[in-house]
Symmetry: C2
Subunit: 187 residues, 2 copies
Amino acid sequence: MPEPTRRRASKVRRSILEATRDILAHQGVKKLSQTNVAKAAGVRQSHVTYYFPKRSDLVTALLEEHIQQMDGALADRGGVSEITAALDVIARDAARMRFFVGLIVECEQDEALRGLLTAHTRQFDGLVARYFGREPGDVDVGLFLNTLRGCGLMHLLHGGRGEIEAPHEIAGRFGLVLPPRPASEGG
Amino acid sequence: MPEPTRRRASKVRRSILEATRDILAHQGVKKLSQTNVAKAAGVRQSHVTYYFPKRSDLVTALLEEHIQQMDGALADRGGVSEITAALDVIARDAARMRFFVGLIVECEQDEALRGLLTAHTRQFDGLVARYFGREPGDVDVGLFLNTLRGCGLMHLLHGGRGEIEAPHEIAGRFGLVLPPRPASEGG
DNA sequence: GCTGTTTTTGGTTAATCTACCAAAAACAGT
DNA sequence: ACTGTTTTTGGTAGATTAACCAAAAACAGC
């Protein structure tokens, strides 16, 4: 058993991951340290090392959980409203972009993490393509999402200030419209 | 004299700034430290503190010089080819986006730096608007540039791999075309 | 060549960071 | 209740960081 059982379900482990997420989203990658995480989680610093022996373990677990949550919210129900919300978040939620940028910065030192993150974004792009009735890899969808990402990045830079056109309006500029209900969207 | 004279023109100072730029662009913000900068510049660590007493002084000076260089290349000649090249860089040059992302991360701890960077991007956006015969603050131009930024960010994430549509083609999607020569472009 | 300023040298400092460790405590299965 | 595992505690280690400093050296103006 290389992977202990209880270790994965621990309450402490959970609080550490949550603290990590909060710090990365609200204070940025420069503030992400074992000390700060432990403080925010209300546990000892050595707990962080215990559950995540290397820094990369912590960040990787964070991203894995994030992906899992996204999958739960998006893929399972395939809900239109969830995707709509997710698109909005990309362009208008500074904390989320801070989180994303932090991950990108971490990727610079961790190719495995980069693999995870690229795969995740690719999958998300494919999901959004479906949402608009396009094939995965669709160029319009790719550009549209990158537009949102650029908006989000500038929104982060400007300190969360400034108005941003609504995602579905931006989508229109790329010829992207929601096809008539695919007859499988549960309320 | 709060601002010493020779201090600003020093060869050492220049090499420090160049090393800082290179590290930020090619290794990322996590590798930006006095030690690494000094090593890359071939000077002693205490030199870095001497010329840039605080870390923020170093980053600020770096951005100021960057802005100055951009101004020199773009505003002076107002050259179409220079802007074309700059647009290309945003979307396709991973090192430049790494540099930009690094600055954004630094802004999180330095509001003055954020002011500098936001002002710079705003000015650049205005310049590009002119380039397309639009007014500063033009929504199409803003979205277009953010598209390039989003492309650049994803390009950085994917480790500099992957093809990207040419900027002027993307511009077309926003109804942006170069007006007939304004009769003032020097070859 | 003297004088005051700038720069360089070579260290030190205090803070912070990741990682490690041994021993106590809590817990689980039986 | 005993046994082995997991977790917690508390502390340490070694690296790395930005920042500071005194004294030597280089330099500039006169």
